[in-house]
Amino acid sequence: MDAWEELVTSALLGTDRKPPAGSAGDTAAVALLDAAAVHTVRRRAGLRPGPAAAPLEAAPEDGRRPLPDAARRRLAQLLAGRAAPAPSGGRRGAAPDLAELLPQWLAAANEHGYRAPAAALPALLDAARARTDLRPQALAFAGPRGLWLARLNPEWKFALRGAGGGGALPDPHDGDAVLALWEEGLFAERVALLSAVRAQDPARGRELLASTWGEERAEDRLMFLDSLRAGLGPADEEFLEAALSDRSRNVRATAAELLSALPASALAARMAERAASCVSLDRTEGAERIVVEAPHECDAGMRNDGVVPTPPTGRGERSWWLGQLVEAAPLDCWPRRFGGRGPEEIVALPVTDDWRGELHAAWCRAAVRQRNADWSRALLGSPAAPQATGPGTSSLAERAQLLSTLPAEERAAWVASFIAAHGLSEAFQLLGVCAVPWAEPLGRAVVDALDIARDAGSYPWSFSGVMGLAERCLSPSAAPQLAALTALPAEAEDASPGAGGYWSEAFRRLVSTLELRASMHAELVSP
């Protein structure tokens, strides 16, 4: 026992019971304190480094270029503003909502190929943990060092799930490494690997999947099959055709869905034949119209091609089957069926016996699945047409989906005309599918409609959804056009009390957000 340990023992038991060596009685306690003080200061003064733990594996190099200084400061500002509580009530003041700009900033930074500053990684990972919608962009920006860091802190383990898995993926061209990971990797790693290989070389990805297809579990087969969606082509038909006889119903349905997106596939041809037998042109009573004769049974062949026999509750069997047949049939088969008419003429034809809604809805789904812009255009109809009249669909959800198949400019022009005709109250969903920043006719249409809403005397928070979108999506070049709207107007007699002030505030927020976005993007461009 060394001298210090003896002192500790004395101190614990008390000097009355165990006086330290060389002292006794009343002075023992003081002698103990004296000795302990000398020991304590001596021990502290003589501190040496202790044994070192094994070093961490070094973070992988990140070859991307560093952020310009101004952009680095902007990121810190956006991350600091992220957790700010959303102001209660409808009124948000004239200051921009920084948290809403973070996704856009991250997307732009990733596009420019910047590397995240190391000091910002913890805040970035915290942000991604709190908001799932931020994750893909935030993790891409955080890069290899972000993943390296996330592995050290259990709070960030979300970053290790999904794409990227726990470790770095091998180069898709490195055949042996790919095969090794495919055969031994964890499920998440294998999904990520298959997507990576598929993105580089669709055929190689399919071969990889085929090599172990028979041994995969049903739910894994479903996930793997889903990754063939990327880069889907005629060469995949044979593999998918085989998957039509899979043991799992979900796998069969997914295979059928993928095949029906290949208009030249045998399945698509079978579906076209079935659908055509149900839908025909009737010329008997003068005017031409479409006659629908829904299938009477769901035979083995249909089931084999992925038609689900049991409808959800509340839907009739026959219309359920019809919908699936038309949805899976290639749209190119219809002009032949209807005497060479184009999509617009076909959509305009009357349909007998209330089948119109069913048929048009199925065509909408087919147009979206097959990314067919001609049919989408026809089914969308005229943006200015009054709701629920005329041919095509009037459902906003369907229209939003159809719009997504059109080229960006046409999409923006269509939504602009829609807003010009119907105002903003129904435009939110449609605006959501438009490319950011909004192309010119669209931006002007939204600003004009906001101006009209203000003149009409409503309050700005009735349009807070569109306002929020406009802040994020309007082109910053629209700011000068808006400047005139930020002025406080004289209160009109019929206006809602105080509305003018709130509108001015809302427009000022819009302008300041646009200016902020403009400088945000400029900072990322300048070296």
């Binding site: 009355d16 306690a29 502290r44 733990a53 500002q77 600091a80 500053p117 913890p122 860091l149």
Partner: protein
């Protein structure tokens, strides 16, 4: 003398915020939207009108040499969100040059400040009004403290006679009572020590050893006070300040360019204490500025971390000469390189040397170079690679960071202190390092190392705060 050309960075501005809520509120105001009539002038003043919830906009003006703030808003925060927002706007280049000079309302305040600054300089030389009465008061207080120290000695001796094992069951009542007696004896330093002693029993594994150490050091302080007249000057000054006697700073004034290394607050129920660590570029000295605020309020002094302050400091005596008072500032500019760094061994030796002048020091400020965070079974530590890593003239961006097995052999390690283990700044430190060597400023001592600021190897111009 001023650096009106140099704008601060957003980080520097945000470092001034008294709390998180202000930081967020200020960030939201750091854009052109709510501002009108903003401007700045050659004497480093910035002003603007900020749209708020009131009918008239708030008038905000900041003197960035201070920095000092004035705002017509009713907020009790200091600086308020408007001042922070205005500075952020300025940091982002959004404040134009006010060619026509400051508006009257701003100029009035700025002129008042200039006047007061002149007055304070002139008045500082004046001594106490009645030296004889002051001497008598000091004697009376010293006698009280002596009585307190003797009483504390008896308490410690009683404790040791009965044994520390009984201290856990005795509870903290006895300690509280003793602490109150020390407050009565006008020895706040002793009272603070006693309260800390009361918190040790049962707190951690091995607490009896810590209790013995701290009892022994308290005993050492008592004895030192009781024989202070026989101690050498600096040590006697240390003892006086450790006991709780405040003395005005008396060291020679020191003008330097001071790099602001860290600023952080600690609060108890009565007081918020702000610590600001500075490094003198020319003198190489490290200095600590303390600033206090009533409970729940931020102390008034705030300096942006990572900037360089041209200022005169006057050190206090004792305590290793760390603590200083800010006498006069001339300007603030953005900064570049970190202070020169030490190895772990040298840093611990510096702590040991400092104990000669102040054996009650728990930690000593140091800048470490070439250290790597690593994880042991007991938590995070800093390992030293400075002596082992071959120094090659390869530029940093082409350097291979992958350690060859056995290539970089750590040269010992120091654990991070308990407070630092769970602090969010730890992750910034780890992220900056990426498993490679890094320069860190912090406090090293018998409880381990508490990191306060770090510099990214590839961007050494940026001081990253870790607290």
């Amino acid at each position: 003398m001023t650096d009106q050309g140099v704008r601060w960075t957003a980080e520097q501005v945000l470092a001034l915020a008294p709390d998180d809520a202000s930081r967020k509120a200020g960030s939201k105001l750091g854009v052109a939207g709510p501002w009108s009539g903003a401007g700045r002038d050659g004497s480093a003043a910035v002003w603007g009108l900020c749209e708020g919830s009131g009918r008239t906009p708030y008038r905000t003006v900041v003197d960035t040499t201070g920095p000092a703030y004035a705002c017509s808003c009713p907020s009790r925060k200091f600086p308020c969100k408007h001042a922070l927002g205005l500075l952020l706007l300025w940091a982002g280049g959004g404040v134009p040059d006010g060619a026509a000079g400051a508006p009257d309302w701003a100029e009035e305040w700025l002129a008042g400040r200039r006047e007061r600054a002149g007055g304070a300089r002139a008045g500082a030389a004046a001594g106490p009004a009645d030296p004889e009465a002051a001497r008598r008061r000091a004697e009376r207080r010293a006698a009280r403290i002596t009585a307190g120290a003797e009483e504390l000695e008896r308490r410690l001796a009683d404790l040791l006679r009965g044994g520390l094992a009984s201290a856990e069951s005795a509870g903290s009542g006895l300690w509280e009572e003793t602490a109150a007696r020390m407050v009565d004896a006008q020895a706040p330093g002793l009272a603070g020590r006693v309260r800390e002693l009361g918190a040790i029993p049962g707190s951690v594994a091995g607490w009896p050893v810590r209790l013995l150490e701290e009892c022994a050091l308290t005993h050492l302080l008592d004895r030192a006070w009781l024989s202070a007249d026989r101690l050498p000057g600096p040590l006697a000054a240390t003892v006086r300040s450790r006991v709780g006697l405040s003395a005005p700073p008396e060291g020679p004034e020191l003008r330097d360019r001071w790099l602001v290394l860290a600023q952080y607050d600690s609060a108890d129920s009565r007081l918020t204490t702000r610590r600001i660590w500075l490094h003198g570029r020319t003198s190489g000295r490290t200095a600590l500025l303390l600033s206090f605020g009533a409970a729940g309020r931020a102390p008034e002094l705030a300096l942006p971390v990572g900037s360089e302050l041209d200022a005169v400091l006057r050190p206090y005596e004792g305590g290793g000469g760390l603590r200083a008072e800010l006498v006069e500032r001339f300007g603030l500019s953005s900064s570049a390189a970190p202070p020169p760094g030490l190895s772990l061994t040298d840093a611990l030796a510096a702590y040991g040397r400092a104990l000669r002048e102040d054996p009650w020091l728990d930690a000593w400020p140091v800048t470490l170079a070439g250290v790597v965070p690593a994880r042991s079974d007991d938590g995070w530590q800093l390992t030293d690679t400075s002596a082992a890593e071959p120094r090659s003239p390869v530029p940093p961006h082409t350097r291979d960071r992958t350690p060859a097995p056995g290539g970089v052999r750590p040269n010992g390690a120091v654990p991070l202190s308990r407070g630092a283990q769970g602090h969010s700044g730890l992750w910034r430190l780890v992220a900056l390092s990426g498993g490679g060597p890094i320069t860190v400023f912090g406090e090293i001592g018998h409880r381990g190392f508490t990191p306060l600021a770090a510099w990214e190897p590839e961007a050494p111009g940026e001081t990253v705060p870790l607290v």
